[in-house]
């Protein structure tokens, strides 16, 4: 705003600069000055021409037109004629107030061209209002913004096309000197167009002063002019009506419709439909009535679940309870230390000798409030309270007493020097052979427990197994990378002979096509009972066989070695003295293998799965998933339809092979890893041994019909082996033909459990 005014001021400066040149009357008031100033006429001056006087309409100058533009004569003529007629129309008026008329007086002359008299008006001096482009610029550079030349040494061009040079301007020192020397410097301003300082005139200073004091810049402006009453006041009243229409009735008659509306309300009030003001007294007191007068039980609304009632107080809440209810000091302390929410009861039992001594209960309102919070903030659940005897949850199983015989106690003990790792019972159930960690093999009688013979090898015995054939008698011992077949002493002559001919035949069977990597060597002399009659040397670095298992016919036996990355399963045929490995490679580390008792199936237990292969068709039949982390042992029921799998993760799974590849039952009762499981060949029993030093005996009855589930009844927990180095009972075997059990313990004893 200030900038705009300063711009104007500069314009005015220009004007005032011009004035002395052209007219030399600087003392004139600004307004008059502007009027007279024919040179300066731009639109800014319009605003300053604010005296309110209507400017006369600028008249066209026909003469000038005719002078300059002679080629459009006809138009001018037409105009002329119009103008000629105009004063005629208003002739009387102009004559009345001749000097009032804004139009200048014309002169009548005879036209040179037409010869007719013609009115000629004096030439109009171009005024502010006149749109004249001929006004002169003091700088002669044209109406060009000065800032275009800001970067140039000149400030424009004169009419001859010469550069108009910028006036020399002093530096800051000159400016300062001029302020010192010339007292009028501070009232001068920079004229941009001229490029020099110009002193302000007295009028301009006056305007500045007025602007500074927030007054109207025009000194002549009178804000308190007397009003001129043009149409009011005495003698100026309009006496005649503007319209001659008669006055409408509604001006003086009361409204019919209003009356109807009011009457409607009045009637409604009279009839009581509208209450002008509510009755005050009756609403205060609540009105009660028989709200249940018509109880309709067939209400569609489902009744809400009623809130549970508060718990009724018990003896301990009494003001005078029996002394056994009073808390001891430590109970009090414990109660005070527990959080309010965790307390079992929200009060401490207290005793007062008399009713008058009972104080107020300080938590009364809090408890009421808590109850209300429960009522509206707590979700309500209908919880079924199990009102059953917990004992009824235990499954009802036949009593173990009715399922006798089964092993009950440990009757015999055979001592070894180190932990007994494996045990096997002869097919007639009379002899047992055990192998220990120091390479000793002990043959002893089951019923007596007396060692009959002792063999010594130079490596730990990892597995021992009797051949199930009845016509020959020998057992296979496994130690590192070797298998030895040993004939027990004191055999009858025909059996001994048959065994000898089987294991060490005089003429070796024709070893056909495939030469095997397993080396079979027989002790042909057969003189010494201390030496194994047959030895099998497995390929080097195949590891020690951890299991030896016979086919039920006794011709084949399989071994599982535990060396990683090698062929771990070998099947050896005694009659042909031939060994083969049925699997090129096996997924997962093989833990145990088993021949199916009836079919030509072969079961392989890897770390997590049990796979069943058909040996004849040479294909995988099914994969069982026990869901264990690490299988330790498997055994199959003599019927061939059921399988038990024991694991190092303490679980025992019972599989019904006909039913599913998921376990029928998973039992977890041992506290440590299961080491061995075994089905009794004839009795409905099975047992599992574990590292917790216990052997569990189960009754396992399997039915022939498909519909009945097998019955598993836990019978007895046999404890007697000590746990040494975290190992308990490493192996168990049933004696065929009797419900007896032999066990190999890590404590260096082998036990016999009689019924």
């Amino acid at each position: 705003m200030l900038k705009a005014t300063s711009n104007k001021r500069k314009e005015r400066e220009e004007d005032s600069i011009e004035e002395p040149k052209s007219l030399q009357n600087s003392s004139l008031p600004l307004n008059g000055n502007l009027e007279l100033n024919d040179e300066s006429g731009d639109e800014q001056s319009d605003e300053e021409d604010s005296d309110g006087v209507q400017e006369p309409f600028p008249e066209l100058d026909p003469a000038s037109d005719s002078d300059s533009d002679s080629f459009d004569e006809e138009d001018v003529e037409g105009l002329d004629e119009d103008e000629e007629s105009y004063p005629d129309d208003s002739g009387s008026d102009t004559s009345v107030a001749d000097d009032v008329t804004p139009f200048p007086k014309p002169r009548t002359i005879i036209s040179n061209i037409t010869g007719q008299p013609k009115r000629v008006y004096p030439e109009i001096e171009p005024d502010y209002d006149s749109d004249s482009s001929t006004e002169e610029d003091p700088t002669r550079i044209g109406n060009v913004p000065v800032e275009w030349y800001d970067d140039l040494p000149h400030v424009g061009y004169d009419i001859n096309g010469k550069k108009v040079l910028r006036a020399a301007r002093g530096d800051e020192l000159d400016k300062f000197l001029s302020t010192v020397e010339d007292p009028s410097t501070w009232t001068s301003a920079m004229d941009k167009k001229l490029g020099m300082e110009k002193p302000l005139t007295a009028e301009e200073l006056d305007i500045i002063q007025r602007l500074q004091s927030a007054e109207n810049p025009d000194a002549n402006y009178d804000p308190y002019e007397p009003t001129v009453e043009w149409f009011t006041g005495k003698g100026k009243e309009e006496v005649m009506p503007l319209s001659s229409a008669p006055e409408p009735k509604r001006r003086w008659q009361p409204s019919k419709w209003e009356k109807q509306k009011v009457m409607k309300i009045v009637r409604a009030i009279r009839q009581g439909r509208i209450l002008p003001s509510k009755p005050k007294t009756s609403s205060d007191a609540p009105q009660y009535y028989n709200i249940w007068s018509n109880e309709d039980p067939s209400s569609s609304h489902v009744p809400q679940l009623p809130a549970p009632k508060r718990r009724l107080p018990t003896n301990s809440e009494s003001y005078n309870p029996p002394p056994e209810y009073l808390p001891s000091e430590e109970e009090k302390k414990q109660w005070e230390e527990t959080e309010k929410e965790d307390r079992e009861r929200d009060y401490l039992p207290q005793s007062y000798p008399s009713l008058r001594l009972v104080p107020a209960y300080d938590q009364f309102i809090q408890e009421q409030f808590q109850r209300q919070l429960d009522l509206y903030l707590a979700p309500r659940l209908q919880k079924k309270k199990l009102n059953i005897d917990p004992e009824s949850l235990i499954p009802k199983l036949p009593s173990p007493n009715s399922l006798k015989p089964f092993p009950l106690y440990k009757s015999l003990r055979v001592m070894h020097e180190s932990r007994v790792r494996c045990i096997s019972v002869s097919p007639d159930g009379l002899w047992s052979v055990t192998g220990d960690g120091k390479g000793h093999i002990l043959l002893w009688e089951v019923t007596v427990g007396r060692p009959v013979k002792r063999w010594k090898f130079d490596a730990a015995i990892t597995a021992v197994e009797w051949c199930p054939r009845k016509d020959v008698t020998f057992f296979v011992v496994a130690l590192e990378e070797t298998l030895h077949a040993i004939i027990p002493p004191n055999l009858s002559e025909p059996i001994l002979k048959a065994t000898r001919t089987l294991l060490a035949p005089s003429e070796l069977p024709a070893n056909g096509s495939a030469p095997t990597v397993v080396k079979w060597t027989s002790d042909l002399s057969g003189s010494s009972e201390d030496k194994p009659i047959l030895s099998l040397r497995l390929p080097a670095s195949s590891g020690s066989p951890k299991q030896v298992v016979f086919h039920r016919r006794g011709d084949y036996f399989a071994t599982v070695c535990d060396a990683p990355g090698q062929i771990s399963i070998w099947i050896h045929q005694i009659s042909k003295r031939h060994s083969q490995s049925p699997f090129k490679k096996m997924k997962g580390a093989v833990q145990r293998v088993l021949f199916h008792p009836i079919k030509a199936h072969f079961l392989v237990a890897t770390q997590r799965y049990v796979r069943i292969y058909d040996l004849a068709a040479q294909q995988l039949l099914k994969t069982l998933q026990p869901g264990m982390k690490w299988i330790s042992s498997i055994d199959i029921h003599p019927s061939g339809d059921h399988l038990i799998v024991g694991g190092y993760d303490r679980k025992l799974c019972w599989f019904d092979l006909e039913l599913s590849d998921k376990p029928y039952k998973v039992l977890r009762y041992h506290t440590r890893a299961i080491r061995a499981v075994h089905f009794h060949p004839t009795y409905p029993l099975f047992a599992s041994s574990s590292d917790d030093g216990s052997i569990q005996i189960f009754h396992a009855r399997v039915y022939n019909d498909m519909m009945t589930d097998p019955l598993i009844v836990p019978l007895k927990i046999l404890r007697g082996h000590k746990v040494s180095d975290g190992l308990g009972v490493l192996d168990i075997k049933w004696c065929s033909g009797s419900p007896w059990l032999v066990s190999a313990g890590a404590d260096g004893t082998a036990g016999v459990w009689f019924s």
């Binding site: 009660y288 028989n290 709200i291 039980p297 009494s318 008399s354 107020a360 309102i365 209300q372 509206y376």
Partner: protein
Amino acid sequence: MAKIKRRGESGAAKAYVTRSAAIKKLQCSLADFRRLCILKGIFPREPRSRKKANKGSSAPTSFYYAKDIAYLAHEPVLKKLREHKAFAKKLARALGRGEWSSAKSLDEQKPVYRLDHIIKERYPTFTDAVRDIDDALCMIFLFATLPSNPRIPPTLISNCARLAAEWQLYVMRSQSLRKVFLSIKGVYYQAEVMDQTVTWLVPYMFTQTIPTDVDVRVMLTFLELYQTLLGFVFFKLYTDIGLVYPPPLDIKKDEEAAGVGAFNLNEIPQPDALQSNPGPNVDANGKKISSKDVRQTIKSINADASAPSAGTKSTALEAEAPSTEETFVPQPSKNATGLETVDLPTLQSIASLPQTTNTSLFSPFVFFLSRETPRPLFEFIVRSFGGRIGWPASSGAGSPISEDDESITHVIIDRPVVPKAGETETQALLRLKRKYVQPQWVVDCINAQKILPEELYGQGKTLPPHLSPFGEQRGAYEPLLNGEGGDGNAAEAEGSEVDEDEEMAEDEETAPILKEATVADPALLRAAEIAAEAAGVDAETFSKETKKAQKRSRTSEKTVGLEGEENMNKMMMSNKKRQLYERMKHGERKRAAEVSLSHQR
């Protein structure tokens, strides 16, 4: 093709809404929502899966049934609450502009909601309502004694006090009080109204102040609902027994602190009874009673109240209370009319047989309260059981009996014995005639349903323990109830309990002495008996206990033999059942530990 199921469009996601969603839907403030929930009885629900209900988020929120909220959306009270919001704005504007007259007229048109329809909705039958008045009574009795403050106006307090008095009057009139328990929190009462047991708790007479951690708004909203509920329930209860509701209040008496006596119980004037009985004004205090009224009451009570028990305890009481003959008792005096009516069992008496409570337990007695005993408590109890009671003027006006009345049989006193120096002869005579008992005697008599010997509860004596009439939880420790004062009846009851216990085969319930008694050796048994006698157990109970103990030991032997087998069978349980079993066993062990701890003390 089947319609594609989208997430969050069916099932739990649709059936539940969170609280904030509910508020958004109802377009009300949280405070209004709370108020609505309290009034309508809507509470949050626990969805089976919070994640499913909350569209996959597991943020902790409370859920409501979407149907409950939809049901709230049509609630007239909600509409009124919205109107009230608008009204509050208008009023605030008028006040802010200083337009007092318009503010006044606005205030006169203030929207007020009524809760009648909510009462009817929430309690479709009267029985439902009676079943749910426990909390209402607790609140009413609490607020009846609270001091008023700017948030709790005195009108509210007085209304609560009126409702409390009306309830007490009804219970006294209908003689439906059953059990009373003096606890450390307050006095628990249990009444039987419309076959529903109603239990309420009344704080002791001390000034309570509302603590700062309690939201008074919530309490007041509940109170609003409870006042309406109780109003309607009392109306029905009163009109059903032919009384005018609300009973008119005698303001003069009320100002003299007459308590419940300030109310007049007026019978509803019946058209036929009008001529014969122009003004049947039965004063609740039993003061101005004509003989006709007495006869009428006797008749009515014989008809509806419990049949008087057939002379089991009457003879002794008769001998005690001949003096009460001359002053009429508003309750049935069995000694006068009961014996005749009992001979012929009516249908009603047979119907009321199982309910063995004796509501006219104190009818032969006249009590006088000592100054230090709480009058409202004992006035209510004694009159509920048919007794008459008086109190000194310091406990309030309106006592029907003065202290030197000849008829007073018992004085309830709660102060130590102080030898009285200046006692006149008549006073001493009166003292000898009266029995001075401690307050607990009254309550124990009610709970025991018979008059207990007063000597145990005499003035200044150490009281026997006060036990809860509501019993203990199942399997919890039960203190021996008989004590020294038990007679044959109690012993019998004890015996039956013992039998039950035997069946339950609970372990370790006997004292250590009895453990010795399990030994079969007769010499040892004899020694144990002597020891038990020395300990204060009489011979009969001892023999019973020994039998019990022997039986138990036999059973326990049996269980020991089977223990291994049972443990074995446990391994055949499924995981789920095993966990359940373990939990139940844990609870059992915990309870047994508590019981054994109590026994050791």
